[in-house]
Symmetry: C2
Subunit: 875 residues, 2 copies
């Protein structure tokens, strides 16, 4: 038979502290403390299984549980020498929820249960403290009535406020025993009026009312919402902990407090916390009295303080982690009420992990697993000063972390102009396009009204390590009048705003930021991660700045150098446009000849920085129309410059227009239609290599990548194009050059035909952005319109553009890996989509046995840590 109720006390503890899924987090920790012999008030845990049963059986508690609980209450009675409902020495209990993971404030708790008109008298007598007893009773009535009986809190609060007004006092503490007595009667009247019943005097009725209420609170609206946001499954359910009450407010030899075993903000190994003498737990939180630093307890309660210190050490040794603790001192006796791994900042997480290795508490492998890679992000970007005042005017998606302030500007040109004047700007656009790249470079941050976490703005901003808030749908951008509105706020061009790309918040004015301090512990942890990971970590970069940043962050190569970004430079775009507007291959080649030296020098700079590490160069990918001007004015400018008629340019733009550019004339399809473009790009790569050789720079082996392949024929044709250029170049220059040719696997058909394609490819790089788009048939740019509906309906547990969809896209990656390697054992496999910097996706890549992941420069450390974790978890 499955055990459903678990006893915990200092004599016998039945639950296995490791089984959080059965005991809930709180129950497991109580069981652990009890097993360690720490002073834990005795109690019982009703397992999460019953929650499921409760919902499946018309919200009834099974009889067996009622009987077993009675038995357990008797055990508590025996240990405490008190009696539940007893009129001499009554046992009071707390009833608390406890689910597998912490859902702070989401579910209900009831304290002081067991009080009624009779037991309250006993409590008064035993404590010789009438005010304490009555105050406890009225607190219980309030809590119980609200949680179990559904009487709204404000009704009680109003009564108290009115009474205090009449009596002419301000603080609750100014009310005495009689005052509370009177209020208790008033409370009872309200309850009778609202529920048509008297407040229950039967303590068992109280108990089962409370337990049911805790189960019911699992499905409260706020709990469901919290779970939705945090991807917590509904079927987990909550456990219920029933535990003997202890009181920190029975006199001056009582106290209550919360503490962390180490500083959760800095990680410093020093007790951190606060306590209040003669108080209940909620008083510490409520902030009516100012709690004292825990260290002062050394003077006020020296024995207890020493005992606490010892317990803290014991708990850290057991959990091998920093603990977040609650305790109560009742008449000079310490009671431990809760322990759990404490939440901490990224900085603290790293310091604690590294320190604990030094202390030999954990191994460096464990240390690696302790730090959530996603939190590293906050260490790599400037963050808003937490203490500063903020006027939040809108919010959007936290698309690229970091904070930035600057003058609002609505065009890339204006952003560039202001940058020349050394002014900081925030580029605000409905959405961005590749034409905005220069403006994005010039701006300190980017804010868009449309577009998801993987929209153009988001992807480019992350690549640049620039803060970005995307899809802030409350914002109405009015380009014409150069302003944007958000609710009642109207922000004009030139006004200063601040964006926080970590939280998605948009604020008025300049909010001060603090520069992060990447301590030595950070690099210590990273060096351990590097030791254990199998996956190589490369970066997606195409500018010397990005390349340099990525190298500093530990990138071991470039996994994706997007050559088209190089085309947008102001000096070159004119030749690029001339190339596109060419009517014959000859004219096109002429224009390409002008672009060649630029590309060559781009590659040279990158090769120089990478100094022998592999560089994957993707040949031109986006449809040509992306490079053409969009406004009539721009068209006029080009027309003048190229001596072509406005009409001709417009015709070409119309001709190149596409219904679905994502599925259009792009990628290798351009290489097939206009081989001269790819020829020029290969020529530039080889010339850059030759230049490196001349300058005695360590040679990289370029990996030339053909994008958007869906058939073996495409790569076959284009590979032979590359080989021909290489052969010609080597002959003409009498030098030997080493290079690889491979392809992106970013279409379902490419994955399925990987066996054929691998014949002509030295490597595969999974382009998971496009592979996700085509596998799901979802355009990431347009997904904003329904992604919310999809998350709300739990159709997507996670945005598949953020974390690899392992069941669909993942199967295609596995198919391609298997078929590709079957054809060619030496095939090198990597991933270069946005997913390369997502820890869950990195874990997938490790399982899929890829050779490397590639991500934006600022995510390189995250990928390094994730890769190590993935490898360690697999083992």
């Amino acid at each position: 038979m499955v055990k459903l109720i678990y006893r915990f006390n200092n004599f016998q503890t039945q639950g296995n502290p490791k089984e959080k899924n059965i005991l809930g987090g709180k129950g497991a920790n109580l069981a652990q403390m009890a097993k360690l012999g720490l002073p834990v008030p005795p109690g019982l845990t009703i397992s999460t299984t019953i929650c499921d049963y409760f919902y499946k059986n018309n919200k009834k508690i099974p009889k067996k549980i009622v009987q077993q609980t009675k038995k357990e209450i008797a055990i508590i009675e025996k240990i405490t020498k008190k009696k539940f409902g007893g009129t001499l020495n009554p046992l009071l209990v707390s009833v608390r929820s406890g689910s597998r993971v912490s859902m702070p404030g989401m579910m209900d708790t009831i304290l002081n249960l067991g009080l009624n008109d009779k037991t309250v008298i006993a409590l008064k007598n035993n404590t010789s403290n009438g005010r304490f007893a009555k105050d406890s009773y009225r607190r219980f009535i309030q809590m119980y009535s609200n949680v179990v009986l559904g009487v709204e809190s404000y009704l009680f609060e109003e009564l108290i406020e009115n009474y205090k007004h009449t009596k002419g006092v301000i603080q609750d503490t100014e009310l005495d025993e009689n005052d509370w007595d009177g209020l208790i009667n008033n409370f009872k009247d309200v309850i009778k009026q609202k529920t048509k019943k008297n407040f229950p005097q039967d303590v068992n009725e109280q108990l089962w009312g409370a337990i049911s209420a805790v189960f019911l609170s699992w499905n409260s609206k706020r709990a469901r919402t919290y779970r939705k946001i945090n991807y917590i499954p509904d079927h987990w359910g909550t456990a219920v902990n029933v535990q003997a009450m202890v009181f920190g407010n029975m006199g001056e030899n009582c106290a209550t407090g919360v503490a962390f075993t180490r500083n959760p903000s800095t990680g410093e190994k020093k007790l951190f916390g606060e306590y209040l003498l003669n108080a209940q737990g909620e008083d510490v939180v409520a902030g009516i009295r100012t709690p004292q630093n825990i260290l002062t307890m050394n003077k006020s309660m020296p024995k207890i303080f020493q005992q606490l210190k010892k317990i803290f050490k014991q708990l850290e040794n057991k959990y091998k982690d920093m603990q977040d603790i609650e305790f109560t001192v009742e008449n000079n006796k310490l009671w431990m009420l809760q322990t759990r791994s404490g939440k901490r900042t990224a900085k603290a997480a790293i310091k604690i992990a590294v320190d604990m290795v030094k202390e030999k508490l954990i191994t460096n492998k464990e240390a690696i697993l302790r730090v959530d890679p996603n939190t590293l992000d906050t260490l790599l970007h400037p963050t808003l000063d937490e203490k500063a005042e903020k006027k939040i005017i809108a919010s959007g998606l936290p698309a690229s972390p970091g904070a930035a302030s600057g003058k609002v500007t609505f065009s890339a040109d204006e952003a560039e102009r202001l940058k020349e004047q050394m002014q900081d700007t925030i580029l605000v656009r409905i959405e961005t396009s590749p034409e905005d790249i220069n403006g994005m470079h010039a701006a300190k941050g980017i804010l868009t009204a449309r577009g998801g976490m993987t929209s153009h703005a988001a992807v480019v901003a992350r690549g640049m390590g620039k803060p970005c808030v995307s899809g802030s749908s409350a914002i109405k951008v009015d380009y014409e009048n150069k302003l944007f509105k958000s609710g009642n706020f109207e922000v004009k061009e030139g006004e200063v705003i601040t964006i926080d790309g970590g939280s998605g918040k948009v604020m008025l004015g300049k909010v001060p930021t603090v520069k992060p301090d990447i301590s030595g512990d950070f690099s210590t942890l990273m060096s351990w991660a590097d030791k254990y990971r199998k996956l190589k970590v490369r970066t997606n970069a195409e500018t010397p700045t990005d390349t340099k940043t990525a190298r500093d962050f530990g990138a071991e190569g470039i996994g994706l150098c997007r050559t088209e970004h190089m085309f947008f430079d102001e000096e070159r775009i004119i030749s690029v446009r001339q190339m596109i507007l060419s009517k014959t291959p000859e004219d096109r080649e002429k224009a390409l000849t002008k672009i060649l030296p630029y590309q060559k020098s781009d590659f040279f700079e990158i090769f120089k920085i990478m100094n022998g590490l592999p560089v994957t160069v993707r040949l031109l990918d986006p449809p040509l129309h992306e490079f053409l001007p969009k406004t009539d004015k721009d068209i006029d400018d080009i027309a003048k410059e190229l001596n072509i008629s406005h009409h001709d340019i417009k015709s070409r733009i119309i001709e190149l227009h596409e219904q679905n550019p994502m599925l259009g004339h792009r990628g290798c399809r351009l290489g097939i239609s206009f081989p001269e473009i790819y020829q020029m790009q290969c020529q530039a790569i080889f010339e850059a290599l030759a230049e490196c050789k001349k300058q005695k720079i360590k040679l990289v082996i370029p990996e030339i990548m053909i994008p958007l392949v869906s058939t073996a024929a495409e790569i076959k044709i284009l590979r032979s194009l590359v080989d021909k250029i290489a052969e010609k170049f080597q002959k003409a220059n009498s030098i030997k050059i080493k290079y690889f040719v491979g392809t992106m696997i970013e279409l379902p058909r490419a994955a399925l035909r990987a066996n054929d394609i691998a014949k002509y490819a030295d490597f595969f790089s999974f382009g998971t952005n496009d592979l996700t788009q085509t596998t799901f048939g979802i355009s990431r740019d347009d997904s904003g319109k329904f992604l919310n509906d999809y998350v709300e309906n739990k159709i997507f547990n996670k945005d598949p553009f953020v974390s690899i969809d392992d069941k669909g896209v993942g199967e295609l990656i596995n198919i391609a890996t298997e078929r590709g390697r079957k054809q060619k054992k030496t095939l090198k496999l990597g991933i270069c989509g946005e997913h390369g910097g997502d820890p869950a996706s990195v874990e997938f890549c490790e399982k899929a046995k890829l050779n490397y992941v590639s991500c934006s420069p600022y995510r390189v450390p995250i990928a390094r840590l994730s890769a190590a974790q993935a490898y360690l978890k697999k083992k």
Copy 2:
């Protein structure tokens, strides 16, 4: 050892007539005739294997072949009692190509080989016909010099023309022996001058020159182009046939002719052909003399005629097919030179197949396999009168067969206006959108400047059975000035043009058409096909007209009823737009309430016609912006009608704009975001069913189809939505209704997750249009820009939007079928993409074990025949 040379004559024939891949078509047929004992001049066939060898070995003929050929020539000498190069009775031979499939006119032939300055004298003496001998020699020199030596033909033609001019004659026949003698000397001079060598007198040198030239002609530019167009693999190669010459021009007891054993145009069982007395084969073709009807031979050469008739019957009995025959009569002796299955019209194909079953020549299974399903198309649409004069002004893709004439109109509204005036129109658009539907209905035919074989215009036109020429890129449409230009032609609105959707031609003025006569043979053949096919054939239809047409053509249900087409009707579009412009679910429901009765009556009409057959109704699929107005004027109209500001409508249009609508907020994503739309549609379906019940119409079981599913959660949610509406409806109306719920599998992820999805689906319908788009990552609307490059580079052997790509898309269909049926044995599987009417794709569906195919009404007979063929081929 592999045999490389095959002898054929009336004593011994080595080749197996079935091995066309070795002997080539001509060689196989010669071998067959020889085996039948028909009078075939003796000869030899060099197998196609040597062609491959030839190209792989530096274009050399292996020595072994030279030796064996010598031996075979000796055999021919023995039979003919002539000597190759002999000066008494010289053997002359023809050297002809012969590949696996006929490539008419693509490769080279040399006749009269073996003539030189000496043998020509012998020929003269033996035939007592000096003019014949010299004429034969000069023909040989011309042919050989052109084909083998590369001397251009016009040089010889010029010499003859000049000579005739000098002599003052017009016809070649007016030149005598001496004239040819002189010209032969002039020819030789030209050859010497151009090739620096004398014309070869060695007959063996002549022979090997000719054989090599035939092999070389396999790779001539025209042959390669022909193969590319007709998807003939390059590696097949050609065989070479060397055969003793016979002459139909040695005197009045000689003749030459061509004949069909039945009429290739009508299929009538009656000899059909023509001949010339005293002539060479090329004279029949050249048209200088008018050939006589073959039937007159009964008088001119009665014995030969009887012999021919007998042979024709013998050949038909052997090949069990109508034969296309060439023969020569040399000195009253009949020689058979060629036989092959004759090309025929669709009408003839059907009549011949049905007749031959009646004649017990073939079985009805064989008859089914005899008719190319694609050709049926020409029988189902009116066709242009072949005899009429035509002024072709442009050409495009043959997007939907049939011919139509009408006044050019550039807008859907104008087409409708003219239709009310009973005027025929051709709707000319750059491309069409769903808004043009009414205009397309009103017009007699559609012509677009952009868009492929599966563009909106093409798909809708085929669905309507309306002629369409799409992607006619030569056409420049000028909406503003209401005209289009094509080359030097300018066609204004109101001028009449004719389009031929079968050939893709656009003609000025009205070209008369003929209505096809679907004879009883057609339905006989169809009834046999129905007997043998396993696949059910449904149709894609949503209007009563289409539904009726499809039923008449034998559709067994509707596989795809696209409800959005019903939204475009003028009366309803306003409510549809109101619905889209609604800001709250309540407003949306109000607008939907107005649409409900229309949808109900649509469904009722369709259910009535289908009379109990299954009907698959696809819930709303396209993105909402497709329904919104596009021009400022239209926006104004709507604004007035709905009392909304122009600005508000424009904002909504901008808000709904999508980068890649194909991958946007459409399909079931609409159902998730706006469940009230799907609710209304289900309500309409159920109300229509109730109406049928009331009117005692046989009830269909509707199959409600959820489009664009990529996760099980989507179909789970939407299925429960349908079930809820059904339950409510049944309760409210106290009736029982039967229905199925299923999904389209049109995204790669849906195919991969078929196991999960099948839990909530009663049927899968493969939407191969979108599945092809997403699997390849190609937008069919945009593919026109590179599809040509792809076909030219042999990347696509077939347009994957026309014939299912069995290696990619096909694998996904197989995966989905297997996984879906594993989850649910009873799962019904069909296909409803455009591919459903493509014979090769139907064959794929039969292999994939689907239950049905669904296609546009006019392709239903094609699908029926294809399904039968697929089943018979599989067995």
